[in-house]
């Protein structure tokens, strides 16, 4: 009997293993082929003869013959003699809201057709969930470990890519970007030297990733209710004091502004992401004379939390909170992802806020602005203002750098690094990028008489873009609300018109103010900063906790809470980052 029991128990364990071994084969999904497009890149609608298969004979000796390439006169591209195959990462944002399968949709097929024709390259799309617990990097790191990563990868996670590089998980791109520079004219043309070499290690010279570029560097704007200003006979504030006076006026005239809902009026609304949602106010306290060196040394935090003077901005916000000018529930009900805070605006209860430069206008007819009009009064509108002056009288903001957003890399075991780089070059082409961004005329956009391009929703059609402006495919170029491969004036007009039915003047003003007196913090490449490794989340958490605590606390306790929190922040790794950044800056620049 003992034997029988032992066998029974062992069998239990074996059963688990055997059942696991029995798995195999992907379920896979069915495919829905979108209608063919005749808008193929550079081919004018037709696939060149011979483009559908490999094995073409080169018409002339090729300087890249050893790499299996020949110059194809018809397509005007270097093309592989034999068909090559690579896998490419694409974000999966889910299929909700009429989205299509990113690996099998109009856009993926259009790219497949284009690279097959122009490069004789076949693409296998490998999806990665965009919203995995810790972001896409959490999945990619597993795939890298399992030799299962796509040949062309991208991530937004700087910490992760630094870690991948340090552990030898990615290829050094220098031999490709330098050695095959002539084969990558579109990549070099779009990124330029600054972006191509942005991530190059200053000592060892390796380049583990390419930084995608941004066209629009507007970040944060300040907005107030235009209709409330009109009702109160006030002009838009142009100084910090005027802004405060305006908030007081909103509060004091709640009955006039909201009638029966007067007790629900919120002069200034924000979320618990205080560093972002009061950024323009805070950075106006940073001395204008701050040097690039100081900006770099204290520039680790993306909300500028470590900059000198910041504390005084927080003190002023704390004072406003005590005066009842700030939404009293911002810490408890204003978490990102919660909609209570947006609802303050949509319901027409909030008088002012600081946030993304286009936040209330996004989605046009479904925007916060239009929802607010429908839910409160037809006159309701948020208008951008520029009022937080610094010590030099400038409306200083820190705007996004053109370089340093999405990171493109090739895993160390990529069997086709040159083909992968040619693919990256191909998606960097102007015509490819433009088509992916604006899609089909009449479906994804309309063209106005003045040439401006008005983006439309293609929801319910196969042409729907799963990410705004197809940013998941235009991997070397990122950011929505921007069309870069066209005349800059037309691009500006297009952007302003891209939020219909919102009057373009609101957009133009918001954009102008968001970049007015803007300064780009320097991002010199001194290689990896060891002290920053793994510190992003812990320090972010400490920053947010301190900002929430100190704004909520009585003003009398401000200094004691701030000083204790700041010490904790520095002791938890902040000081090490400052020290290492200082050492690196002095080593390379002085």
């Amino acid at each position: 009997m003992k034997k029988a029991l032992s066998i029974l128990l062992a069998a239990t364990m074996l059963a688990v293993l055997l059942a696991a071994c029995g798995g195999g084969g992907d379920g896979g999904g069915g495919t829905a082929t979108p209608p063919p497009s005749n808008n193929t890149p550079s081919g004018g609608g037709d696939t060149p003869s011979g483009g559908g298969g490999g094995g073409e004979e080169p018409s002339a000796p090729s300087p890249y013959e050893a790499e299996g390439l020949y110059w194809n006169e018809e397509t005007g591209t270097w093309r592989f003699t034999d068909t090559r195959k690579i896998s490419v990462e694409v974000f999966d944002r889910g299929l909700e809201d009429d989205r299509t399968k990113p690996e099998d949709c109009h856009w993926s097929k259009w790219i497949e057709e284009g690279v097959k024709r122009d490069l004789n390259l076949e693409i296998e799309w490998l999806t990665v969930p965009r919203f995995a617990g810790g972001g896409e990097a959490e999945i990619i790191v597993s795939m890298l470990a399992a030799n299962d990563a796509p040949n062309v990868c991208y991530t937004y996670n700087h910490d992760a890519i630094t870690e991948f590089g340090a552990r030898g998980g990615v290829l050094d791109l220098i031999p490709y970007v330098d050695g095959y520079r002539d084969l990558l004219p579109n990549l070099w043309g779009l990124l330029g030297e600054d972006a191509v070499y942005a991530a190059r290690d200053p000592e060892e010279g390796h380049l583990y990733w390419l930084e995608a570029v941004l066209f629009n560097n507007a970040r944060i704007g300040t907005f107030v209710r235009e209709d409330w200003l009109n009702k109160l006979g006030r002009s838009a504030p142009t100084t910090t004091q005027e802004f405060e006076d305006m908030l007081v006026a909103f509060k004091d005239n709640a009955e006039l502004l909201l009638g029966a809902d007067a007790n629900m009026l919120i002069p200034f609304t924000m979320s618990d992401d205080v560093g972002w949602r009061a950024n323009n106010l805070f950075v106006s306290f940073v001395p204008d004379a701050i040097t690039d060196k100081e900006l770099y040394i204290n520039g680790y935090d993306d909300r500028q939390f470590m900059l000198p003077g910041y504390k005084e901005g927080v003190r002023l916000l704390s004072k406003w909170y005590d005066m009842g000018l700030v939404w009293q529930d911002f810490s408890t009900r204003g978490a990102p992802g919660e909609t209570f805070e947006d609802n303050n605006m949509k319901a027409g209860l909030a008088g002012a806020f600081i946030g993304n430069w286009d936040y209330v206008y996004r989605q046009g007819d479904k925007s916060i602005q239009e929802t607010m009009k429908a839910e409160s009064t037809a006159e309701a509108a948020f208008i951008a203002v520029d009022c937080f002056q610094n010590d030099a009288g400038k409306y200083r903001k820190f705007i996004s750098s053109r370089v340093g957003d999405r990171k493109i890399f090739l895993p160390y075991n990529n069997p086709e690094p040159l083909a992968s780089m040619l693919y990256v070059d191909w998606v960097s082409r102007d015509d490819v990028r433009k088509y992916l961004q604006i899609g089909e005329e009449g479906i994804n956009h309309d063209v106005m008489d003045n040439g401006a391009i008005v983006i439309k929703s293609a929801a319910g059609t196969p042409y729907i873009q799963n990410g705004p402006f197809n940013i998941d495919y235009t991997i070397t170029f990122n950011g929505s609300g921007q069309i870069d491969a066209i005349d800059p004036v037309i691009s500006g007009l297009s952007m302003a018109l891209g939020f219909a039915p919102i009057d373009p003047s609101y957009i133009a003003r918001a954009f102008e103010y968001a970049i007015n007196d803007g300064r780009i913090a320097p991002r010199p490449n001194f290689g990896a900063i060891e002290a920053e490794s793994g510190m992003a989340n812990p320090l972010k958490s400490k920053r947010d906790t301190l900002l929430n605590q100190v704004v909520n606390a009585p003003l009398a306790d401000f200094d004691s809470i701030w000083d204790a929190g700041w010490r904790d922040y520095l002791n938890s790794g902040g000081q090490d980052i400052i020290d290492e950044r200082t050492a690196k800056y002095e080593k390379y620049i002085g």
């Binding site: 029991l5 919203f131 597993s142 209570f340 705004p468």
Partner: protein, 280 residues
């Protein structure tokens, strides 16, 4: 007086448990305008069923719900079978290597491999993006094995011995003696497994993300919530004001079925307890 205090405390605890569900329910049944004004608390305002109509007419939800129900059923049955046949031999004093087996089982409870080693293992086993990855790796919970083993220990050895004297082997003893006396623990563990499987989405997120046909309902919900927090310009027909209602309705839709299983299993808890006392 003492009873009243106890009843009052119980009521407060019940209310604290129910309040989040009631809030969610009322949000899912309210009109978007009331939600915008943050007016909805425990009772719906502007009662309507639009969000549920939309969800029920969406085949993605219903398909995922049915699959999750099937998955939960399979996992429940398999997990209980595995738990029982793993726990049962461990109650025999004369089991050869019992301490070793105990230690080996306990070790896996305290030390997990982590995401990347698991990914590598499932990749080697061909389980990635295979529906089996939602079933096999979690078909046995060591914690539950220990609960089951402890319960089986509590059943008098004399019952087993008398059956053995009558010629019953270990399997017959298990089936005819132990299992009938263990309905309460079986019901409890079944509930643990069912709730765990129904609410689980981590395994789908990390190991099943390329096989949309077999997304469990909670992973679908995760995508919906994440997606609605990151709605892209011009890409959705859902009115902005309505997104809260849809989110609440989606959560209710995914939660209610598993809540309904509890009252059904409660019968067995009571039955099991009563049966034990009669035998005792």
């Amino acid at each position: 007086m003492g009873d009243w205090i106890i009843a009052f405390v119980c009521l407060i605890v019940i209310f604290m448990c129910l309040a989040p569900m009631l809030t969610l329910l009322s949000r899912s049944l309210s009109d978007p305008r009331s939600l915008l004004r943050n007016e909805v608390t425990l009772l719906p305002k502007g009662l309507n069923f639009n969000a549920y109509q939309t969800i029920l007419s969406d085949s993605m939800y219903t398909r995922s719900l049915v699959w999750t129900a099937i998955l939960t059923g399979i996992c429940m049955a398999l997990s209980m079978f595995m738990t029982t046949i793993c726990a049962y031999p461990l109650i025999y004093d004369n089991l050869k290597g019992r301490r070793f087996f105990n230690a080996m089982i306990l070790f896996t409870m305290y030390f997990g491999a982590g995401l990347i080693p698991n990914y590598l293992l499932y990749n080697d086993l061909g389980l990635l993006n295979n529906p089996l990855v939602l079933i096999v790796p979690n078909c046995l919970s060591v914690f539950n094995v220990i609960i089951m083993r402890s319960f089986l220990f509590g059943i008098p050895d004399s019952l087993r011995e008398s059956a053995e004297i009558d010629g019953a082997g270990p399997i017959r003893v298990l089936v005819n003696i132990y299992i009938p006396l263990s309905t309460s623990v079986i019901a409890t563990l079944t509930l643990f497994y069912a709730v765990g499987r129904w609410n689980g989405y981590g395994d789908a997120l990390f190991y099943m993300f390329r096989n949309r046909d077999y997304y469990p309902i909670q992973y679908l919900l995760y995508n919906i919530i994440s997606g609605m927090q990151n709605i892209d310009p011009g890409q959705t027909d859902i009115p902005m004001g309505a997104s809260d209602t849809y989110k609440a309705a989606s959560v209710m839709f995914a939660t209610v079925p598993i809540l309904m299983i509890y009252p059904w299993l409660q019968r067995y808890f009571i039955h099991g307890v009563t049966l034990g006392s009669e035998k005792g």
